[in-house]
């Protein structure tokens, strides 16, 4: 599949737009290639490659919208897709919340979301990276299961109001679980990058291997409230449940954790510890993301939580106009301002506590309080007098990430991590939190 450059995409979109007879027309174009390898039981299992492209035409007559898509770009197909979207629009009911498409926007400079190294990856290089991971496993007499996936693609959009946007990106994701052959120890590592050359499968697998060996003689300790140190992988799956719930309309309507009595919201109120600062920034060099959202709105640096108070919520353009707030789109990643300590220092300064390296199967129990349940997995350890004393059996927890951030004691250096639940990339620190609620024990390894 060819990755269209900015000029090629623009020329194609202009051609499609020239066929439009609707009041308004908007076109989204995308294409890409992906490849992956999966392995388990120290051996490759499934793998594959997929190539896809699509052109989506949205035509509007008044407040009536029709959408049609095609993946063939010859002239006849392009005319057909425009006509079909217009026919659908004529048949559609009026949507009172329809917003006229955005006019021309000013976006910041391109962000380094595209890597030539990743884009030119071959099946051989992919297999070589996995071979390195498997070697660590076999050398340590462990059992490896893992996944390596990469993709390259481009997105572009144009509308009849004069908006044009283009971006190309690459991504690579790697995660591995190492288990002891008796099934009593397990360790995990995960990494995500835009640039494949940053990935070191040997190093990451070694980290997982160490956790597997260290966790093999786990003891049961009583569930209850404990001081915990959460590694960034565990922090990600807790905090993203806050990010996913920061919709302005839900808050205004009284059905989110941001709602309060009398139809008001908790915007600006301190809900978490004053050390909590969370923002998104497409220009961050460690976590570059696109400079525009799917409907053409610019992605800018946004402070979501400042000193423990929620400052901004994201919103549809319709709701923002209705309520007179700025229409901020949902970001593509989030960053929590970290501290200067390493994970080892956090452990060293802990008298009694539990090191949680990963949390898993996170589900919301109550949308009002963002109470979540889930379990520890792949290495949980008891800390005493600044040292890891012994591995402990896994726990189920019931905890709200809001309460957790309110109980924040300390944090380490932020690093890029990936949510194993949503695959979204974040920059997050390890957190030390008091009174984290474990409600039962699990026999799972």
């Amino acid at each position: 599949m060819t990755i269209l450059n900015k000029e090629e995409a623009k020329a194609l979109l202009e051609k499609v737009l020239s066929y439009s007879k609707a009041d308004e027309c908007e076109i989204n174009l995308s294409g890409g290639d992906g490849g992956n390898i999966r392995y388990a039981r120290n051996s490759v299992s499934t793998s594959g490659g997929v190539s896809q492209s699509s052109l989506v035409v949205s035509s509007a007559f008044g407040k009536k919208l029709g959408v049609a898509t095609i993946n063939e770009f010859d002239e006849e197909s392009l005319k057909k897709v425009v006509k079909r979207s217009e026919e659908l629009a004529q048949l559609a009911p009026e949507n009172p919340e329809f917003m006229s498409f955005l006019g021309p926007q000013t976006y910041g400079p391109d962000t380094p979301t595209f890597s030539e190294v990743t884009a030119s990856l071959t099946p051989k290089e992919r297999a070589d990276a996995v071979a390195q991971s498997l070697k660590v496993s076999k050398d340590n007499n462990l059992n490896a299961a893992g996944f390596l996936e990469d993709s390259k693609g481009y997105t572009a959009m144009m509308n009849s109001k004069g908006l044009f946007a283009y971006n190309k990106s690459t991504s690579v994701a790697f995660n591995v679980t190492m288990r002891t052959n008796d099934g009593k120890g397990s360790g995990y590592a995960t990494r995500g990058y835009n640039d494949f050359s940053k990935l070191d499968t040997k190093k990451d697998t070694t980290v997982a291997a160490k956790k597997a060996s260290m966790s093999a003689t786990a003891k049961a300790i009583e569930p209850g409230k404990y001081t915990v140190i959460l590694e960034p992988t565990a922090v990600a799956v807790m905090l993203e449940n806050i990010f996913f719930a920061m919709d302005a309309r839900q808050a205004d309507e009284g059905r989110s954790f941001m709602s309060k009595a009398g139809g008001k919201t908790k915007i600006g109120e301190q809900m978490m510890d004053a050390k909590v600062n969370i923002y998104s920034d497409p220009y961050n060099t460690e976590l570059p993301t696109g400079t525009w959202s799917g409907d053409g709105r610019p992605q800018e640096k946004i402070n979501w939580i400042e000193k423990g108070a929620v400052k901004n919520l994201y919103s549809s353009r319709y709701w923002a106009q209705k309520t007179g707030i700025k229409a901020i789109p949902q970001p593509d990643g989030a960053i929590m301002q970290g501290g200067t300590k390493t994970l080892e220092q956090l452990i060293k300064e802990t008298e009694k506590g539990i090191l949680v390296t990963r949390l898993w199967y996170i589900r919301q129990v109550d949308p009002q309080t963002l109470l979540l349940t889930g379990l520890t997995r792949d290495g949980t350890f008891y800390i005493e007098n600044g040292e890891i004393k012994f591995p402990v059996k896994n726990f189920r927890f019931n905890e709200s990430p809001i309460i957790m951030l309110n109980n924040l004691e300390d944090m380490g250096i932020s690093e890029r991590t990936v949510s194993a639940e949503s695959n979204v990339n974040y920059l997050l620190p390890p957190l030390k939190v008091r009174d984290f609620t474990f409600t039962s024990l699990s026999d799972a390894v």
Partner: protein, 545 residues
């Protein structure tokens, strides 16, 4: 990301966060285009191009899946239509064995050249990966069926029903909910049609047409004084049926002390009316006292507990470690099966796997590697007796044929072992729900599915629900809230106290069972009658932030 896409598309935000949702995605098309069907003769030509191309590059086995995956969503809130989307995903996936290793490639370009290139890529991936193999792939024998077809036995193709009729239904549901006192209501009709063609070097050319439907709603009521809110989701089940699912007759309704429940078909309007009343009761309900309770679990709830605690741990790929890096492994290790005496549950517990039950989400004629489907026992009189396996795993169980559990959620996804319908068999003695409740001293009657979570080996789970009724001395005395129960799988199934008879047997299920990397979703049903479990640990989930 797919889950987020679904939430974005349906615009139901927090309400959708309660759903086990990972949808299959596709391109948007017109409703009329969804009624077009690609001629099997054309698909056979395409398949032969791929089979020949792969063979010429050195593949020793090849299968080709030409898939057209159609979805229709109608999404409304209160008095507004938010979105009507028709999507189509059409392409070809080619799986090969070369040098003893699997390879796979897929493309949405359906010209001979692109298909041959994809076949060549699949072979080159297989050859490249073969150096990482510990042992070559071993496929259970499978005879070719020649040119055959299978169609889901639906009465009314939901894609043929005019969009206006669907919009009118959803808006009337919303109107009933709002008039009943709800503050917000989102309703969604979600339709799926999989038109899939399978061809393999074994000599099969299989054309199948599969339909699914899921009408659902999310209703919210807010106490403005306190700022507290409660939700009540629809008690519908996603099913492998056509639009007839929405045509409920009196025989499809079960009247209970907790309202009307639905068997086989669904009255969406009636459920919305009772939901509006029940969500008001939820706001006023008593918060649960934590402790041990006997649980009476309705099939609209129990399906999810079966799914997580029986369906997943009996998947052979998990048992063997193929999912160790993602979905997890299983506590039901091979030694427990080999012993022929592992008490998964007590003697009341009989669980079957099937891929054929009419109206179920898992029903197909043949699986995605060309194996004719059937049914088998998984737990017999409480003892673990079997798993769920596919062709490259059958030899591990000493089977001479696959059990037909192979599925891919799209032409672009590689097929692998997925869950069959896994269902708890009804009690053999005559027993109604009312009679079951009469014998409970201290219990909770739970209806509908809610929050769910289980560990990676399927020991420790926690489930919520939609409606919780307190039972005292054989009578329902009122509604409870903030209820979740935690248990260990083996202890839970050994605490089974009674199972209602076949009159009460109903199917629940999910469109979005997630597994694999890249993650794929699969639709699966789970049947049961109302079942009692004794002395289960209940926690209180109320918090303040």
């Amino acid at each position: 990301m797919k889950r987020r896409n679904f939430i974005y598309l349906t615009g139901v935000g927090a309400a959708a966060a309660m759903m086990p949702s990972i949808p299959v995605w596709g391109n948007e098309i017109s409703p009329e285009a969804a009624l077009e069907y690609v001629d099997p003769a054309v698909k056979k030509l395409i398949a032969d191009v791929a089979l020949n191309a792969a063979k010429s590059k050195g593949a020793t086995y090849t299968d080709v899946r030409i898939g057209r995956y159609l979805n229709q969503f109608v999404v409304t809130r209160e008095d507004k239509v938010q979105n009507i989307v028709n999507t189509e995903s059409y392409g070809v996936g080619i799986r090969v064995i070369a040098n003893g290793s699997w390879g796979f490639a897929a493309t949405d370009k359906m010209d001979n050249d692109s298909i041959a290139k994809a076949a060549a890529l699949a072979v080159s991936i297989a050859k490249e990966n073969s150096r990482l193999l510990t042992e070559p792939v071993q496929l259970a024998p499978q005879k070719g069926y020649g040119e055959v077809s299978w169609k889901a036995p639906i009465e009314k193709n939901a894609f043929e029903v005019p969009v206006k009729e669907k919009v009118d239904l959803l808006l009337s549901v919303n109107d009933a909910a709002m008039k009943g006192g709800a503050d917000y209501v989102n309703s969604i009709l979600f339709l799926v049609n999989e038109q899939k063609y399978f061809a393999s070097t074994d000599g099969s050319y299989i054309d199948q047409d599969i339909h699914r439907i899921w009408p659902t709603f999310f209703l919210t009521k807010i106490n403005k004084e306190t700022g507290k809110f409660e939700t009540r989701n629809a008690l519908s089940a996603p099913t492998g049926m056509g639009y007839e699912y929405l045509d409920a007759k009196p025989q499809h309704k079960i009247k209970t002390a907790a309202g009307t429940l639905y068997k086989g078909r669904y009255d969406m309007l009636e459920d919305a009316k009772q939901a509006a009343s029940q969500v008001g009761d939820k706001l006023k309900a008593k918060t649960v006292e934590p402790g041990k309770y006997d649980l009476v679990l309705d099939p609209s709830h129990l399906w999810l507990t079966i799914h997580e605690s029986t369906g997943h741990p009996t998947e052979l790929d998990r048992v063997l470690g193929y999912e160790a890096n993602f979905a997890g492994t299983s506590f039901l290790t091979l030694d427990k099966w080999e012993s022929k005496k592992f008490n998964y549950g007590n003697k009341l517990v009989n669980i079957k796997a099937d891929k054929t039950q009419v109206g179920s989400l898992g029903a197909v004629g043949y699986d995605d590697e060309g194996v004719k489907c059937g049914e088998w026992d998984v737990v017999k009189d409480g003892v673990l007796v079997n798993y769920q396996a596919i062709r490259d795993q059958a030899h591990i169980l000493g089977l001479t044929a696959s059990q037909g559990c192979c599925y891919a959620d799209n032409w672009s996804s590689v097929q692998f072992q997925r869950m069959a319908n896994i269902s708890l068999q009804p009690g053999k003695e005559k027993l109604s729900v009312d009679d079951m409740i009469k014998n409970v001293e201290k219990g909770i009657y739970i209806i509908g599915d809610g929050s769910f979570s289980i560990d990676q080996q399927r020991y420790n789970f926690q489930f919520g629900g939609q409606l919780f009724y307190e039972i005292k001395e054989g009578k329902i005395v009122g509604m409870l809230k903030d209820v979740a129960y935690q248990a260990n799988t083996q202890e839970f199934w050994n605490s089974c106290g009674a199972i209602c008879d076949a009159n009460d047997y109903r199917l629940g299920g999910s469109f979005f069972d997630g597994k694999g990397q890249p993650s794929q979703s699969s639709a699966v049903s789970h049947g049961s009658s109302t079942t009692r479990f004794n002395g289960v640990n209940v926690i209180n989930t109320a918090r303040k932030i």
